[in-house]
Symmetry: C2
Subunit: 239 residues, 2 copies
Amino acid sequence: MANPTAAILVIGDEILTGRTRDSNLHYLAGKLAGAGIDLVEARIVADDPVAIAAAVRALSAACDHVFTSGGIGPTHDDITADAVAEAMGVGIGPRADALAILQAHYDRQGVEFNESRRRMARIPDGATLIENPVSAAPGFTIGNVHVMAGVPQIFEAMVASVLPGLAGGAPLLTQTLRVMRPEADIAAPFGALAAEYPDLSMGSYPFVQGGAYGTNLVIRGTDPGRVSEAMLRLTGLFG
Amino acid sequence: MANPTAAILVIGDEILTGRTRDSNLHYLAGKLAGAGIDLVEARIVADDPVAIAAAVRALSAACDHVFTSGGIGPTHDDITADAVAEAMGVGIGPRADALAILQAHYDRQGVEFNESRRRMARIPDGATLIENPVSAAPGFTIGNVHVMAGVPQIFEAMVASVLPGLAGGAPLLTQTLRVMRPEADIAAPFGALAAEYPDLSMGSYPFVQGGAYGTNLVIRGTDPGRVSEAMLRLTGLFG
């Protein structure tokens, strides 16, 4: 049976303007591979409600799961929850359980639960909350869309909250053979081997080290026996 | 006048499976901001001809420029040139000038110009070559799509080849005020200030340092006078 598919949607002007280098995409990619969920696409859009809603609609229709990162904080530029509600065709408003979680958190800290903090309890109708063990303000799942914070520490904690509850498939196994030969010298036999294993994915990644050309040959698949067999063949060719 | 818009399309199973962390997107984002070209979307798709062609079509229609990264090497998994030709509705084949560039390069190196290396001279009909001062194999521009290599050193050299030839707009200016207060404490006045400057973009990025909450307040815009004026107001509020 094929693995479930997923997409990630990163929301953030700070990435598109070059101010910040995203790390959530790379983190989630590794976690999904381990869980047997195939990440088939990633998108990054600006802090623009129309762009966010359009991307959520497209990815939600195309994949089994969509994970979003960013735009659920207390400031005016945090517009993800509203855009997701719009995309999913539901209303949005403050919710009692989210308010209670936040109230308890700020009471413990002795911090005022002000209007800006209350914004973080606005949740689309019918959503399930995603626990945030770092700073309390919850993410949420609505339909097949999992909405999470952009701050890496919180994003990673939310992934840990949501991932165990999703049905996974066979974990993706990756084996790499590093050869100190230019890619074009191994391309023909490597391509012929890949054609013999249509159930596996084989990729070739060139690098330069100390002025010499090398290539990482990567074999990916979900069947450990097939991956090992192909790697044995590959090692026989170039090892 | 509004700045030209751009999208980047990264092609690579190695990013989506979590093996590699992409750096080309972040690099290009910074260069485009400096050139006055607004990066409005980024996508990462797998080494899949249908997914690549669909993304090229969508982004080419939506933006003034599309930059692609990856999949133009000599191996069987390098399928970007064919997918882009398909998306743009043109043929593809070996081209004399590209063959000559590669032949000269491999002659100088004393390396055999084999069949795999010849694949890199396959260029969509009607395209313009993009110079590759690192390893010779050219990228190309067809329509508004600029097709470049995935290896960061080569990608960056190709950006340097292609960017000066594109009409830019006003460079994006970014100023940041770092305050050691949690984002929710400054959200209301910061949002009110942002509403006074609809021509600027203001974002708020929380961080934790030594257990204390802080926020980077960022103002972006193309008019130096407006950006400085807004930053002066911001500093008056929180500095």
